[in-house]
Structures are given as structure tokens and as C-alpha cells.
């Protein structure tokens, strides 16, 4: 009993130490650093394409690295690979389980993955010999729903789950390489760093965690949100993390200063953030909300500089293409829209 008491005290001491250490490095704010920067002018993006074809709510989308193809997942039980320029469907893949919550495109363009309430991550080979798209692997071990997945390569993928863990898988053998445990609530979203060495996860314990993939450990934990974190992404240079929460705000955390730099909030925004994506330079933050809109923020000045209003239901997913040319939104209204 005595040891337990001591350990709990040490836990509290360490938490206080971290808070104090962060404060000593807080010699300024991002507001001060950006004081001389003019707010971005009003950003007005137009819908250039509408991708029609899904018959039910769209839950996820992910751009291919060529900035032309993208994959979307809908609870109509289909994964569709789209050519966003022609709006043609390159592949329409029927799923075993229609309760899909996430999808991902491999950097090579050879594979796509999806998963959801079946607790599995299914990998599909788009470039099979006979031209048919088939399930290549079913990665099963999570004891909760699959909330997000992202490929590191054609042989490795990282998943996040409602069982509170994230897992690094070996796709060829279908086995777990590393289990990243630590979140105290459902892991809802993940993002991989530009150098592929780290990933970040956002969870229902209101925290975001930075994980070292090869060392298999959590390096940093960021708090501050007052509700579930639904969306997470890296700032383009890999040195900062952006989170979106049910508390209707987005936050920017710097990894090297180990603390929050800014909160993006407005009293008129009362609906949770479902998805987010930074623009190529990181200057703009696009955040999808439950209220059917996407808010566009000037990331340095924390001012709202635009709104994308075009969907008739919740915006569930958003992504900016690698070349930064366009933003794609997916909605419960069953449509995807391409904007620039």
C-alpha cells in the first residue's frame, strides 16, 4: 500500500514538473511572433468538381500521392477510387462489412485500406494481375473499431482503434509489429510525420500523443482540449501538430517547445470538429464541422478567413492534395467535392 501511495505522489510530481518545464520555455507566444504579419485576405474557394456515386454517408477520404486520384469510403459498403479531374470512378470496391469508418491510399498508389466496426483493417491490391481488385490481407487483432489507418509503405500500415491502442502492422505476414498503448480513451485519428519516423494520435481521453515508430514509445502527450479529439494532422514541416475536437476548437501544438501555441475558436462555432487539413504552406487550416461547414483559418493569426458551404449534411472528412492544388471534402450527404 505504501508503495502505491509513493508512486501516485511521484505521478503528480512529474505532471507538475512537466507543466513547470513547459512554462519556463514559454518566453513568448505565436501571437507575438506573428504580430507583424498581415491577416490573409478572405479565402473564397469554389467547388470545381462534385463526385457523385456513393449511396450513403461518406465517412472517410484520402488523396493518392499523385494529387489526382483519391479513395473514399461510405457506409453504402463501397470503397471508390476516383479520378478527381475527370470525376470517373477508377475502381468501385464492394466491402465485406459496410460499417466502414476509415480508408487510406498507399503512397505507391498500389494499395488501399479500410476498416470500421468489423475491428479489422482490410488491404486491397489495386494493381492485381487480372485487373480485379481483391482483398490482399485482413489485419485482425484490435478489440475495438478501426477509426483510422495510414500506410507507411506497401509493407507497413498504422491503425488506430476504439480499443485505445494504435498498431504498426506487417502487411505481408498480417501480424502486429508494435502495439502503441497509452491512451485512456478510444484512439480516433492518426497522422504520420513527413519523414515517416513518427506518428501522432488523437483520442477520446482529450489528449494527442506523439509516438516514435521504431523506438516503439510515446514521446510526448498534449492536453488542453475539453472533449474528444476527432481529427489530427502534422503541420507541413513536421514540427507541429494540429488537433480538432468535439469541443468545437482546433489547437496547434509545437513539438519542440512541447506545448500548445494557439487555439482556433469562435463563439459562433458551436459544433464539433470532425476533420482537418492544413494547406501546403501551413498558413491555412481547413476544419470540417458537424454543422455542414468547413471553416478556413489563418493559422498564424487565429482568424477565420473563409467558409466552405456546399454540403447538405455533416462534413466527415477533408484532405488537401500533396501538390496543394485542391481540397477535397466528403460528407454524410453522400457527395465529395473538390475545391480550389
Amino acid at each position: 500500500m505504501g508503495e502505491m501511495e509513493e508512486l501516485r505522489k511521484e505521478m503528480e510530481n512529474l505532471k507538475d514538473q512537466i507543466t513547470a518545464a513547459r512554462k519556463t520555455f514559454q518566453d513568448s507566444t505565436l501571437q507575438e511572433a506573428a504580430a507583424g504579419v498581415t491577416v490573409v485576405g478572405r479565402v473564397q474557394l469554389k467547388t470545381r468538381k462534385t463526385l457523385r456515386g456513393h449511396l450513403a454517408k461518406i465517412y472517410a477520404m484520402h488523396w493518392g500521392t499523385d494529387s489526382t486520384l483519391c479513395v473514399s469510403a461510405s457506409q453504402d459498403g463501397k470503397l471508390i477510387v476516383w479520378d478527381t479531374i475527370t470525376t470517373n470512378k477508377v475502381n468501385a470496391i464492394p466491402l465485406k462489412s459496410s460499417w466502414v469508418m476509415t480508408c487510406a491510399y498507399a503512397p505507391s498508389g498500389n494499395l488501399v485500406a479500410c476498416g470500421g466496426l468489423d475491428n479489422m483493417c482490410s488491404i486491397y491490391n489495386l494493381k492485381g494481375k487480372d485487373g480485379n481488385v481483391k482483398v490482399m490481407r485482413e489485419l485482425a487483432a484490435h478489440t475495438g473499431y478501426l477509426s483510422c489507418c495510414r500506410f507507411l509503405s506497401d509493407t507497413e500500415i498504422i491503425t488506430s482503434s476504439g480499443d485505445c491502442t494504435c498498431v504498426l502492422w506487417d502487411i505481408e505476414t498480417g501480424t502486429q509489429k508494435t502495439v502503441f498503448a497509452g491512451h485512456q480513451g478510444d484512439a480516433m485519428s492518426l497522422g504520420v510525420s513527413p519523414d515517416f519516423k513518427y506518428f501522432i494520435s488523437g483520442a477520446c481521453d482529450f489528449t494527442a500523443k506523439l509516438w516514435d515508430i521504431r523506438e516503439a514509445e510515446c514521446r510526448q502527450t498534449f492536453g488542453g482540449h475539453e472533449s474528444d479529439i476527432n481529427a489530427i494532422g502534422f503541420f507541413p514541416n513536421g514540427n507541429a501538430v494540429i488537433t480538432g475536437s468535439d469541443d468545437a476548437t482546433c489547437k496547434l501544438y509545437d513539438l519542440r517547445a512541447d506545448q500548445e501555441l494557439l487555439t482556433y475558436q469562435d463563439s459562433s462555432i458551436m459544433c464539433g470538429v470532425t476533420s482537418l487539413a492544413p494547406s501546403k504552406s501551413g498558413r491555412l487550416l481547413l476544419a470540417g464541422h458537424d454543422d455542414f461547414n468547413v471553416n478556413i483559418w489563418d493559422m498564424l493569426k487565429a482568424e477565420r478567413v473563409g467558409v466552405l458551404a456546399g454540403h447538405d449534411n455533416r462534413v466527415s472528412c477533408i484532405g488537401v492534395s500533396s501538390d496543394g492544388m485542391a481540397c477535397c471534402t466528403g460528407s454524410w450527404d453522400s457527395f465529395l467535392k473538390i475545391w480550389n
Partner: protein
């Protein structure tokens, strides 16, 4: 997960939590002023390469067919 708690399982959990907190406490930090300055610089240096920020002329926009003039 087994419901049979070994006598020390909650102790092990707290020991793990303490170990993790020690790791997180020891991270090397830089000043916010430096971090913020570098974020600002990155944004400004890459602004011209950010099509959503600068806008895309229709002739360069792959999502917009270029308007052609028909001479009658």
C-alpha cells in the same frame, strides 16, 4: 482482458505510468519564441507555393477546363 487481477497488476500499471511520465518530463525543449519564429518563417517562405492561398489562374487549374475562344 482477464478480470482476475493479479495482486500487483494495478501497481504495475502505476509503475508504467510513472516510467512514461519520466520519459515525457525529460524531453528536450526549445523556447516558444524560436519555435513560433520558425513556424512563421516556414509559412511565409512557402506562401507562393501554396495554391489554395495564392489562388490558381484558370489556365493552370487542372480542375477547370481552360476557356477557349472560338473564332467564327
Amino acid at each position: 482482458m482477464s478480470n482476475i487481477s493479479a495482486p500487483n497488476s494495478s501497481l504495475v500499471l502505476v509503475q508504467k505510468a510513472v516510467k512514461q511520465l519520466r520519459l515525457e518530463a525529460s524531453v528536450r525543449r526549445i523556447k516558444v519564441s524560436q519555435a513560433a519564429a520558425e513556424l512563421k518563417t516556414f509559412c511565409l517562405q512557402n506562401a507562393q507555393k501554396d495554391p489554395l492561398l495564392t489562388g490558381v489562374p484558370s489556365s493552370d487549374n487542372p480542375f477547370r477546363p481552360p476557356k477557349s475562344c472560338i473564332l467564327l
